[in-house]
């Protein structure tokens, strides 16, 4: 049995960054476990640029970003278990967790003081978005299509319809178009696009791909392979408008309808889950309700920027190293984050008020000229424009937090008075 101070589960951007940070902070025995044969998670198949503008101050492709992280990691000594799948975590006690993993070498039972869990997300399926009809081939999630194309070199189809105009869907629209496919439509249920405007320009406008806002995919038609998709316009309550139903002929349907954090192994342990993020409730060390288990990256919150995922990995590593060196995280007057107004979520949900904390959040709907207020510390930040697709990241300093006497902090987003 191997004994570690920290095991990082998931070798994507946030996981590699966590392992690197832990070693830099002096944690001795660190392991990184990933189920694939290569590190980087989804990054190696994200062959477009836009990664690392903050972290490396360069505009890199996904694989280049991974390579730089991996090079940094190679200079440090931690164990990397590739082709190794973690299938069970056991919380023994405050100082001991067990991680069970399987590889072609057998079952490994790894003992550790702390865990950083960074296993990323999965994609929502066609069933989860309520599409009915037949169940032919030719239906893929966006990430799946990306893997088929840019890892395995397989062309999934010729006449493409994409559900969801988030950045993932837009990137895949361009990808398909570049490989000679006919991308017939991107269908978006909201009245505004899900992704960044720059991606609307680079991925849709550049290729004359029509975007249908306020539209929903109802039904799949096709016997062995999809032949058509039935679409309708929707009203403000997302209900189908009668007489607006039409069909688009296609042989491929790409579902890009959102990501869900993959935290089933943690749910099995009974950690507190935040229904707003569908992931763990965490404190300002990104520690879950089970001591010594930290969450980072997309497993914690779906990030738009890999730079934030990396930052979360580093914060989690700091938390883990604090745990290792101080025999745990000190008790604190934990303050709950309350939400008010146009806010979907904020993470972390609990802060000590005794240290700096970086908050990550999203709004529910797009709005212009708003302010984010935290009354208890008399903080007010103005935003020209907020969008659900653009994560809000803000740093609260120890000094501004030290004045808080209450048991909670209320984050509020509302329109600015001119």
């Amino acid at each position: 049995m191997y004994t570690y101070d920290l095991i990082v589960i998931g070798g994507g951007a946030s996981g590699i960054a966590a392992a690197i940070k832990a070693k830099e902070l002096g944690v001795k025995k660190v392991a990184l476990v990933d189920e694939k044969s290569y590190l980087g998670g989804v990054l190696p198949q994200c062959i477009h640029s836009g990664f690392g503008l903050v972290y490396f101050k360069e505009d890199l492709t996904g694989p280049e970003f991974t390579e730089k992280l991996v090079q940094k990691a190679k200079k440090l000594s931690f164990d990397v278990y590739s082709d190794t799948f973690v299938f069970k975590i056991i919380y023994r006690d405050y100082f001991e967790k067990l991680v069970y993993a399987v590889s072609k070498h057998g079952i490994k039972k790894l003992k550790t003081k702390t865990i950083v869990y960074s296993a990323g997300c999965r994609e929502r399926s066609i069933y989860e978005i309520g599409v009915v009809g037949s169940r032919p081939s030719g239906i893929f999630t966006a990430g799946e299509a990306q893997t088929l194309m840019d890892i395995y070199g397989i062309m999934p189809g010729k006449n493409i319809v994409i559900v969801g105009s988030g950045d993932v869907g837009l990137i895949m629209a361009r990808r398909f178009a570049l490989q000679g496919a006919n991308v017939k439509a991107v269908i978006e249920i909201m009245p505004y696009p899900g992704g960044l405007t720059r991606n609307i320009v680079q991925c849709l406008n550049d290729f004359n791909i029509p975007l249908f806002l306020s539209h929903s995919v109802l039904r799949v038609i096709g016997k062995d392979r999809i032949e058509e998709v039935e679409v309708c316009k929707v009203d403000e309550s997302k209900k189908c408008i009668e007489d607006s139903i039409f069909r688009i002929k296609c042989d491929t349907l790409i579902i890009s309808a959102g990501l869900v954090p993959r935290v089933e192994l943690l749910e099995d342990l009974g950690i507190s889950i935040d229904p707003l993020t569908k992931s763990a409730v965490v404190n300002d060390r990104l520690e879950t309700s089970l001591p010594g288990i930290f969450v980072a990256g997309n497993a914690l919150v779906v990030n738009d920027l890999v730079d934030y995922a990396v930052e979360q990995g580093e914060v989690a590593a700091q938390g883990a190293s604090e745990f290792v060196f101080n025999n745990g995280i000190s008790a604190a007057q934990w303050k709950k984050i309350k939400l008010n107004g146009n806010i979907r979520f904020f993470v972390p949900q609990l802060i000590s008020g005794e240290r700096d904390v970086i908050m990550y959040g999203r709004v529910i709907s797009p709005e212009e000229k708003v302010k984010l207020e935290i009354n208890e510390i008399k903080k007010e930040i103005s935003f020209f424009r907020v969008r659900p697709s653009e994560m809000i990241r803000l740093r609260l300093n120890k000094d501004e937090l030290s004045s808080v006497k209450t048991k909670s902090l209320t984050f509020s987003i509302s329109k600015r008075s001119e």
């Binding site: 799948f85 299938f87 999965r122 009915v132 009809g133 037949s134 999934p156 189809g157 062995d224």
Partner: protein, 488 residues
């Protein structure tokens, strides 16, 4: 010794059961003929998977259903053990919510006793709650049928076919019967898309298409109409589940929307019952209205259903409704050698073993000679499920075959070794692998594993990755390599 040639058309649960039973005879050359690319892809693939106790079928109106269901329920206990098919015998509860319903329960009780069902009892509220914690508190009474059970229908078909083939049955896949030739007295050969097969006996077990096949020889006056049922399948972690099979009081058209937990631990609700035009024998589309109907009716049976966000799949299956409503198990009136085993709607799955044992009796009655084999193998070993064995056993498996250490499907923890074994046992498609291993049946519904399974199929079948089929012909996962469209 010259063998009599028997062709069973249709490798669904009924055809496969008959194949297994006929494989016991030394002097029969048994051909199992299936038009799809794999076995059990018709009615057998999408149903409620219940082994009914046998109180539903009125012996006056539906004598075959009544007779074979009870027998079949009993026989499956032995067959599932011999063939290592996943089954659970947790019993069923028919719940009543009104006086009308209660009267129906007493009818069922009486009918069940007539059909020879054991252990049936009408029970009251507190006993209902003891047997099923999630039963709706509005249920006034229930008919408790302890002999009811559940099975994995895809596992059942593949297990039966493996066992039949091991005992000498010749399996023809992607083989469609286009015509049946007779010499005026008896059948002589089948004409298929893969050539001709000379036959002495033909058993029509073609499910939804039984009327089309019967028409090839004429003289049978039944029609098979598709009756579609839609289902929801929940994530394995979705709570609350149920521990018994829950039914409403039945209507003449169908047993109603059921709430059950499958043998693999997923809560499942359904089916509704929509009669389709006779030609729509492939219409397995789910509909908003149908699914809505299922949800509403299922909710009535339980305290609560899990949140809709825990639904991982919706699907539909078709029942082959025969003219007259009862199983049509009889030889042709005038043409020797042609036997119909048609209209095997509910309780078709339950009845299959019992119906299968009728066939040799029928053959003898029709003049065939049957000689039992001395060394017929009744057993078949299942594909080991890595996820279910102890860690010690896991290590042993990996030491013996490192492919057990490569997880292909993360949601269900299915290894490459199991995928390769499924291919060895006949899977030629991603669906075939899925039905034999559960890879792709988890919450991500194949998004993470489809590509990996396609690459393994490509390697094992020595075909290009984009040629790998998801399901049947025309369902290839890709249209070519990544650059194929740019070359056009």
């Amino acid at each position: 010794m010259s063998k009599a040639r028997v062709a069973i058309i249709g490798a669904g649960i009924v055809g496969a059961s008959i194949a297994r039973v006929l494989s016991r005879y030394e002097n029969l050359e048994v051909h199992l003929i299936e038009m799809e690319v794999d076995v059990g892809w018709g009615v057998s693939k999408a149903n409620t998977a219940i082994l009914h106790a046998g109180y539903d079928d009125d012996p006056n109106l539906y004598p075959n259903r009544a007779k074979y269901c009870v027998r079949g329920n009993y026989l499956w206990r032995k067959w599932t053990k011999q063939l290592q098919i996943r089954a659970s015998w947790n019993g069923s509860l028919v719940l009543s919510f009104s006086e009308e319903d209660e009267e129906e329960l007493y009818n069922l009780l009486e009918r069940g006793e007539r059909n020879g069902v054991k252990g049936l009892r009408i029970i009251e509220k507190d006993e209902i709650q003891k047997l099923e914690k999630n039963a709706s508190p509005s249920a006034t009474l229930a008919l408790w049928a302890p002999t009811a059970g559940q099975i994995s229908p895809f596992e059942a078909v593949t297990a039966l076919v493996e066992n039949a083939v091991e005992n000498g049955v010749i399996l023809h896949l992607e083989t469609k019967v286009l015509d049946i030739v007779e010499d005026g007295t008896r059948v002589t050969k089948l004409v298929t898309n893969n050539g001709e097969i000379e036959v002495d006996w033909v058993i029509n077990a073609t499910g939804l298409y039984a009327d089309y096949i019967a028409e090839l020889v004429g003289g049978s006056e039944f029609k098979i109409t598709p009756r579609r049922g839609e289902y929801f399948l929940f994530d394995s972690t979705a709570e609350p589940k149920v521990s018994r099979i829950l039914f409403p009081a039945p209507k003449p058209k169908s047993k109603g929307v059921v709430v059950t937990t499958t043998v693999d631990g997923n809560l499942m609700i359904g089916p509704n019952a929509t009669d389709l035009p006779e030609e729509e024998k492939e219409n397995k589309e789910t509909t908003q209205e149908g699914l809505e109907e299922v949800w509403i009716n299922a909710s009535k049976l339980v305290k609560s259903l899990p949140s809709k966000s825990k639904v991982i799949k919706t699907f539909a299956g078709l029942r082959p409704e025969p003219t007259g409503g009862d199983f049509i198990i009889k030889p042709h009136d005038s043409l020797l050698g042609f036997i119909n085993v048609a209209g095997m709607r509910s309780p078709g799955l339950t009845s299959a073993p019992a119906v299968a044992y009728e066939i040799p009796k029928m053959l003898l009655h029709l003049g065939a000679r049957l000689v039992l084999k001395k060394n017929w193998n009744p057993t078949r070993k299942r594909i080991i499920r890595f996820s279910e064995v102890s860690n010690r056993r896991k290590n042993k498996l990996i030491a013996m075959n490192p492919l057990y250490g490569n997880i292909v499907c993360q949601c269900e923890m299915v290894t490459e070794a199991e995928v390769v074994e499924a291919i060895r046992r006949g899977a030629r498609t991603i669906e075939g692998v899925k039905l034999r291993t559960r890879a792709g049946m988890g919450r991500c519904q194949g998004a993470f594993c489809r590509a990996k399974i396609a690459m393994i199929l490509s390697r094992e079948l020595k075909i290009k990755p984009w040629q790998v089929r998801v399901k049947g012909a025309g369902s290839e996962i890709g249209v070519g390599d990544l650059f194929s469209l740019l070359h056009e």
